[in-house]
């Protein structure tokens, strides 16, 4: 051993020991005061400075300083060790002083564990499944609490971290910890979030928290939507009962059909407007045009329910005035899914399979019942002729030819010119009846119609951007054969923070749908399947479709296509829809942003229906040729919307101000054509337009519409107590003439959060109480374009002698045509009591529309009566209540119920002589709601001829009703007492307006189970059962409605509800009367939904995050007194909204589905 060397080592060892034991001492001993001031300086420079001021030398490897942080320091006369401590504390290095040497070396990494328990604040019970996240020092870890509420992050380097705890339905909480020991306990309590208050509601051109709202807005989130149906094709059809005051009527159950939404009544009864709300889908505004089963444009039908994140329904004028011209009937804002920033990407897929059957079908008469009915009608008719109640000459031309086709009659007395005056009825002619026994309603049905739906979605985001992608495939079979809808849609959306100040995003979606159908509507009397005579076989001996003899209906041997044959029509609707929107937002300075957005929606549709000869009614008896026909139409629509706006937020001393101003340009372009082709060489293959003999009718149209707008909003909040908002918008529309283009739409609303007042602080049980008051103006432009100008045009049949002719356009110009305006007051109260267990809100409103556009009287000497003017005044008043209650609120079991009810009173205040079509005069009466029906009141069914004779003799015309009235016929009430029944003896007998309507929603959550059910109801509306009228007309060769057959008058059934049926109804028993009126009130179990999330233990094995299965049933049962197919099936136009409408049946659907998230 080298001693010298040993000594040297000994010296060092001694030094080391001394340093270790007498560190304090030695530091003090070696104390030298140092003064230093640096800013963001690098460590090397600082070392140099210290070396300059002291005798110490630093020992380090150069590259060890590479990963150090800049240092800011201000020290005066500090000890070296102290100073070094300050410097190195935040560095990944540590130091050691040895003699006059400071040795710099890497810090030893120290690790610790963060753990804790998460409990509920209210009852201190542990919460499992809470997501806990730890972020800091380049770390980002996530875990969840176990069954005991415990969580644990092990091997975490010492340092400062942010912990966050989140759980659905609870407020997310966070804690900042400094881990400097091996174990750190960080327990947390969580409070239930009053999600209602914090929920962000989308308002026009912006968003607001629920608690700050001063206007009436209903919101529906994704979760609730799913509970309302998870098999529906479109979202609006399932909104029935979901939001207070939103009346949803499903007029048809056909694939691809959409429901009608009405918010707070009708404002424009006669303009042809559907009075539907404005839909704003991802910022793109739309109106729905038309309500046929095949709407030409309906953006709603192409948005899968699963892609919707939220629906916000703006109701009062304070909310809708920001949409100015288009807000008169409310606004429905639909937001589709977008990815969330800082959320790991998840991929989820789900598949639903459903089986549907009609909720109700009419039960047709059997062959025996049908024959019996024909026999009764014929006997009644012959009796009436013989009793002198039917003019024998009229009978000779009208009744007898038909009767003789079905029965044997022998003429008795003759007038001397060959016309018999009386007949003997010898019974039915059995040869006139077929040998069939056909239930047409069964033949056309597609039993257990399948629907399958597949969704795929990818969702997530990083710090600066987020992305969402959805794909949906939907395949639905109709309830009738040869009928179905297929739809494919995809949507991509993203948002990105390009710089700290600039954010941009876009969404793109494309949908393609194709609907095929044979016949959706059996509209004509004789083709309503349940009224078609059952004695005809569906096919003839050659296997061709049998035709049905229509000579009893048309007075000529017209051969009608059977309902089954009609389903051989080949209808095809294709629709391509593109929706694209992009925005950029630039924060010019703090709280001041500029935003620009542009959206383009494009709909291109093509529809065609080929009607083969065998599926058509054969009118050759009337001199027309029977040709196969093809009708086609195409439509190309594009909506573009461009908006620039500026937002400014300002906050000081409890005052909060938000201002927004914007410019908008909306353009709507539409073009389309229709063609009718006839005569094809073939019914099967050569059915294209090119194979037609000729194009018999064609149209082409192209229009542009535009709206330039300026809008602004100013909202103010003081101490979370006082809220105020003012909106102002002005629109300029291309529809109106010079001087009438522009209109102004102001609104003002105020809110008072009473619970935040000092004097309310002692009241514990009130969690929220807010009073809202609002006033506003909205408008609409429910007319065609350029009605202020007189045009000359040419249509395809404007020809004379084979050469084109130019004709006057039918519109008589009105230079003064202008905006319809609606003024609205709304008062509302929002509340939450008992620790937010009872929540609710109440709204009451009064709306008044002036100058609703309608066809107005015009001097008929103009040659046309098409003249529009602002003439009708309407009012709508009503209230809406929504209540929610948490029946059970435990960790593992929750049961929420919510209930809503609303009432709207619609009234036509002044018609001002509007020019109403003769057929719908009774639907528009001053002082009544739009859509009423007038009719006679039936006092009784006549049972004595003496009574009839007495009434006839005291009538000024010689007849109380008419010549044919006899025993078994209705006695109508002589309302004006003039001794004769005529149109003046009618009064309003039906009104489409329910007294109240709403929904009832239950959601039960137990462990992994979710169970929900939804009821929808409406009470008090009445409608005429038109179908019964057809039966009462006594048409021969046609079956009767079962209800009529069961309860029509006969000598053996003198107390019948329905009168005697005579062919051609000479006694006019089929007049619209109160005997045909039924309430369309109903209570419907709209949807039941059960879902179960598989335990994660199980799914983890399969490397799947979550798997849930669900089952649901919709339209399971309905309580109603309405005898028609469905109480919601009333006419689609206002004039027919109190009449029955045997639309495509509604379906009762059972679904099963599975959803997996990866």
């Amino acid at each position: 051993m080298n001693f010298k060397y040993f000594n040297h080592v000994r010296l060092y060892l001694t030094l080391l020991l001394l340093t270790a034991f007498f560190m304090e001492f030695s530091l003090a001993a070696y104390a030298q005061k140092i003064t230093i001031k640096v800013h963001e300086s690098n460590l090397k420079a600082i070392i140099k400075k210290i070396e300059a001021q002291s005798t110490y030398r630093f020992l380090y490897a150069d590259d060890i300083l590479k990963n150090t942080f800049p240092v800011s320091l201000s020290a005066k006369d500090k000890n070296l060790p102290e100073l070094l401590n300050d410097i190195f504390q935040s560095q990944p290095l540590t130091f050691q002083i040895e003699d006059k040497t400071v040795i710099i070396k890497n810090k030893q990494q120290q690790l610790g564990t963060v753990f804790g328990t998460v409990k509920q604040l209210d009852n201190n019970t542990p919460m499992s499944g809470v997501t806990v996240k730890i972020v800091g020092r380049g770390l980002d870890l996530i875990t969840a609490t176990d069954a005991y509420g415990n969580y644990n992050f092990a091997d975490i380097p010492h340092g400062t971290y942010q912990l966050s705890y989140s759980y659905i339905g609870y407020l997310t909480t966070a804690a900042l910890i400094n881990l400097s020991e091996p174990k750190k306990n960080q327990s947390m309590t969580m409070t239930i979030a009053d999600s209602r208050l914090d929920q962000v509601v989308v308002i026009g051109y912006g968003a607001k928290q629920q608690k700050d709202l001063t206007s009436s807005i209903s919101s529906i989130n994704q979760e609730k939507l799913a509970d309302f149906s998870n098999n529906a094709a479109t979202f609006e059809s399932i909104l029935g009962g979901a939001a207070k005051g939103v009346m949803v009527t499903q007029n048809s159950g056909a694939p691809g059909s959409t429901a009608k939404l009405n918010i707070r009544g009708i404002t424009s009864p006669l303009s042809g407007s559907t009075n539907d709300p404005l839909y704003v889908i991802d910022g793109v505004p739309f109106f729905i045009e038309g309500y046929s089963d095949f709407p030409t444009i309906n953006p709603l039908s192409n948005i899968p329910v699963s892609e919707i994140e939220s629906i916000d329904i703006l109701k009062d004028a304070a909310a809708t005035a920001i949409y100015g011209s288009r807000g008169a009937n409310g606004v429905v804002i639909v937001k589709t899914n977008r990815g969330k920033k800082n959320k790991p990407f998840t991929l989820s897929a789900d598949y639903t399979h459903s089986i549907s059957n009609p909720t109700r079908m009419y039960k047709p008469l059997s062959v025996e019942q049908f024959k019996d009915a024909q026999n009764t009608i014929i006997r009644n008719t012959i009796n009436s002729i013989n009793d002198g109640k039917i003019d024998p000459y009229e009978a000779y031309y009208n009744q007898l030819p038909a009767i003789e086709q079905l029965a044997f009659v022998t003429p008795l007395a003759d007038d001397g010119f060959g016309t018999p005056l009386k007949y003997r009825y010898d019974g039915l002619n059995n040869d006139a009846f077929g040998l069939g026994n056909t239930d047409w309603t069964k033949l056309i049905r597609n039993k257990n119609a399948r629907t399958s739906q597949f969704n795929l979605s990818l969702n997530g985001g990083s710090d600066n951007s987020n992305l969402a992608f959805n794909f949906n495939a939907f395949d639905q079979e109709g309830l009738y054969i040869n009928n179905g809808l297929k739809r494919y849609s995809a949507r991509l959306s993203f948002d990105s923070n390009i710089t700290d100040q600039l954010t941009a995003g876009a969404s793109l979606s494309y949908a393609y749908s194709t609907l095929k159908y044979g016949q959706q509507l059996f509209a004509e009397g004789n083709t309503k399947p349940w009224l078609v005579r059952p004695d005809v076989n569906a096919y003839d001996a050659n296997g061709n479709f049998s035709r049905i003899d229509g000579s009893l209906l048309y007075g000529a041997p017209v051969m009608l296509a059977s309902p089954l044959a009609q389903l051989s029509n080949r209808g095809l609707n294709n629709m391509h829809q593109f929706l694209g929107a992009a925005y950029a937002e630039y924060e010019v300075f703090k709280n001041f942003t500029l935003r620009g957005d542009v959206s383009i929606a494009s709909y291109n549709g093509g529809a065609s229906i080929f009607a083969p000869t065998f599926a058509q009614d054969d009118f050759t008896a009337f001199g027309s040729n029977l040709y196969a026909t093809l009708n086609t139409n195409t439509s190309n629509n594009s909506n573009t919307s461009l908006n620039f706006r500026a937002d400014y937020d300002w906050k000081k001393n409890g005052h909060q101000l938000y201002a927004m101003a914007g410019l908008g340009f909306d353009r709507y372009r539409k073009s389309g054509d229709t063609h009718q082709y006839e005569e094809f060489p073939d019914n099967e293959i050569l059915t294209d337009p090119g194979s037609a003999a000729r194009d018999t009718y064609f149209t082409y149209s192209r229009t542009d519409q535009g709206l330039n707008s300026i809008y602004s909003r100013l909202s103010y909040k003081y101490k979370d107590r006082y809220l105020a908002e003012a909106n102002f918008r002005t629109d300029e529309s291309s529809k109106f003439g010079p001087g009438n283009k522009r209109a102004y739409f102001p609104s003002l609303s105020m809110g008072w959060r009473i619970n935040n007042e000092q004097f309310m602080q002692a009241v514990n049980w009130i969690n929220d109480l807010k009073l809202r008051l609002s006033w506003g103006n909205t408008g609409s432009t429910n007319i065609s374009d350029f009605l202020y100008r007189q045009f000359f045009v040419r249509g395809s049949n404007d020809l004379w002698g084979g050469k084109p002719a130019i004709v006057l356009d039918l519109n008589v110009p009105n230079r003064d045509v202008k905006w319809e305006k609606t003024r609205e007051y709304n008062a509302g109260l929002d509340f939450a009591f008992f620790n937010n267990r009872l929540t609710g809100n109440f709204d009451i409103y009064d709306r008044y529309t002036t100058g609703a556009l309608a066809l107005a009287p015009i001097s008929l000497e103009a040659g046309s009566s098409t003249y529009s003017a602002n003439i009708i005044d309407m009012s709508n008043k009503g209230f809406e209540i929504e209540l929610g209650y948490d029946l059970i609120k435990k960790q593992e079991l929750t049961w929420n119920i919510s209930f809503n009810i609303a009432r709207n009173r619609n009234k036509i205040e002044h018609l001002n002589g509007a020019n109403i079509n003769a057929y719908s005069l009774d639907s528009y009466l001053e002082g009544y709601p739009a859509g009423t029906q007038k009719g006679y009141l039936v006092e009784k069914i006549f049972d004595s001829q003496a009574e009839i004779d007495a009434l006839n003799s005291s009538s000024p015309t010689g007849y109380y009703q008419n010549m044919a009235t006899g025993i078994g016929d209705y006695k109508y009430k002589d309302i004006n007492g003039d001794g004769v029944i005529n149109t003046n003896d009618r009064q309003v007998i039906a009104s489409p307006q329910p007294k109240y309507f709403g929904g009832f929603y239950n959601r039960i959550h137990y462990k992994n189970f979710n169970f929900s059910f939804v009821f929808q109801y409406a009470k008090g509306a009445k409608a005429i059962m038109d179908d019964f009228q057809t039966s009462l007309f006594g048409m021969l060769g046609q079956s009767l409605q079962q209800e009529i057959y069961d309860d029509m008058w006969s000598p053996t059934n003198p107390n019948a509800h329905f009168a005697k049926i005579t062919y051609y109804d000479p006694a006019a028993n089929s007049r619209t009367s109160d005997r045909l009126v039924y309430e369309t009130s109903f209570l419907r179990l709209k949807n039941i939904n059960v879902s179960y999330a598989l335990p994660t233990v199980l799914t983890k094995k399969w490397r799947i995050n979550q798997v849930s299965v669900f089952a649901s049933a919709s339209n399971l049962w309905t309580i109603t007194k309405w005898p028609g197919l469905d109480p919601e099936f009333v006419g689609t136009s206002i004039a027919t909204s109190a009449s029955s409408n045997d639309a495509y049946p509604m379906s009762k659907t059972f679904s099963l589905g599975i959803k997996a998230t990866f």
Binding site: A402, S859, L860
Partner: protein
Amino acid sequence: MKIKYLGLLLAGTLGLNSCSMVGDIDDIKPYYKMEGDNVVYNLESAESVLRGVYKSWRAFNVSSFRLYMSILSGTAVSKGGGLTGGQEFVTNSIQANNVALANIYQGSYLTINTANNLIKLMERGDAKGAPEKRVKEIIAECKIQRALAHFQLLRHFGYFFDLSSPYGIVLRSTPFSGTETAPRATVQQSYDFILADLNDAIANAPQNNELHYYVTKATAKSLKAKVLLHMGNYGEAETTAKEAIDDAERNGYQLEGSFQTIFTNGYDSAEALFATYTEGSMEVASDQIARTTYSEFTKRMADMLVGKNSDGDLNTGDGYDQRFYLMFNPALAGAQGNGKHPYSTNGTGKHNTQMLLRLGEIYFIHAEAAARNGHYDTARHSFQTMASRASYPADYATGIGNNVLLAAIFQHKVLELFAENGEDWFDFVRYYQAKNIAINAIKSTIKSDSQLVLPLPQTALAGNNQLQQNPL
């Protein structure tokens, strides 16, 4: 940085402007529509608008109800299926809100308003480069259309049989431009207006046109004779009818050899003074012929004129007037059940023409006017021409006494024209007003004079507060 974004924004906005997503609202214009200031600019464009005037006679509003007056008179009845608003015509109890009224009223004024628009543009000289003669002719053709429409209105809604009555019609000589209203003119003023148009037309209308769905001088003169007859100006009516027949026959018009060919030739018939052009799938007029048939009244009259009173055989036609039998004979009646409408209603080829004025009627006008003027032989001559075509013997007219001649002319005219244009109704009203027949002679439901004029439609009264309803 900021400047860069502003630049992008500006560029973007300009780009959008160029594809018209933004811009002045006044820049939005209608497509494919003409207006008064550009619709007529040369002769061809004027001819197109003129064809539009003609085309208005085929419009649903007027064509569909053309037969209703024959229901009113009871010569025709509705059969299985019924007619729109027709029941009140059957019972002669027409209410002002009957749908047919507004249709007829409005439809007739459409012809007038279209004609007035074109007259104004032609007079203004919009048809650049058009020969002056053709400009005048076009105006004259418009005036014939306007006169015919006014005359129809006067006969339907006015007291046309009473020259001293204030209940004429609203006369329109200018395009309808806004909400202007006017009161009814008197009957005399109405006739004066119509005659002025016809006199203008007689002076300027085309001399001839081989296409009989266009009007000529002869049409104007024939219509004038008819108007004069309605005015009770039998003297002028007789001479004008004679001139009209002569003019017509000099200019390519002539009676068809057989009654049937009038209708099979349709608008091509040499007998048509003005008829609707109906052909192919585009040029069709709606009618409700198939839902009507003859009445007992007509059948009995057709029976009485030939042989004994009740010897008619519907299967062979024996014992019936051949004009009646042609219409309803099972072999010829065709699908519409009426031989005057032999064609199908769709598809290619010729369809059923509506005869608005034909030469045969002018012979009857001449015969009636002459008979009323006591020129029995002249009357018999024209009457015999028509009777001969209907297979009556050559001495048929001479066998009819002066005292019953007018009645015979009436009956034959009914059978000649019924189910065409409602002429039988107006004849009935005229004969009743001239005290030639009793009010209940045709139809038992007609009991009072107020049933002889249609009420003005409710909608016309609603739109024109100066309009006065007919007295009830």
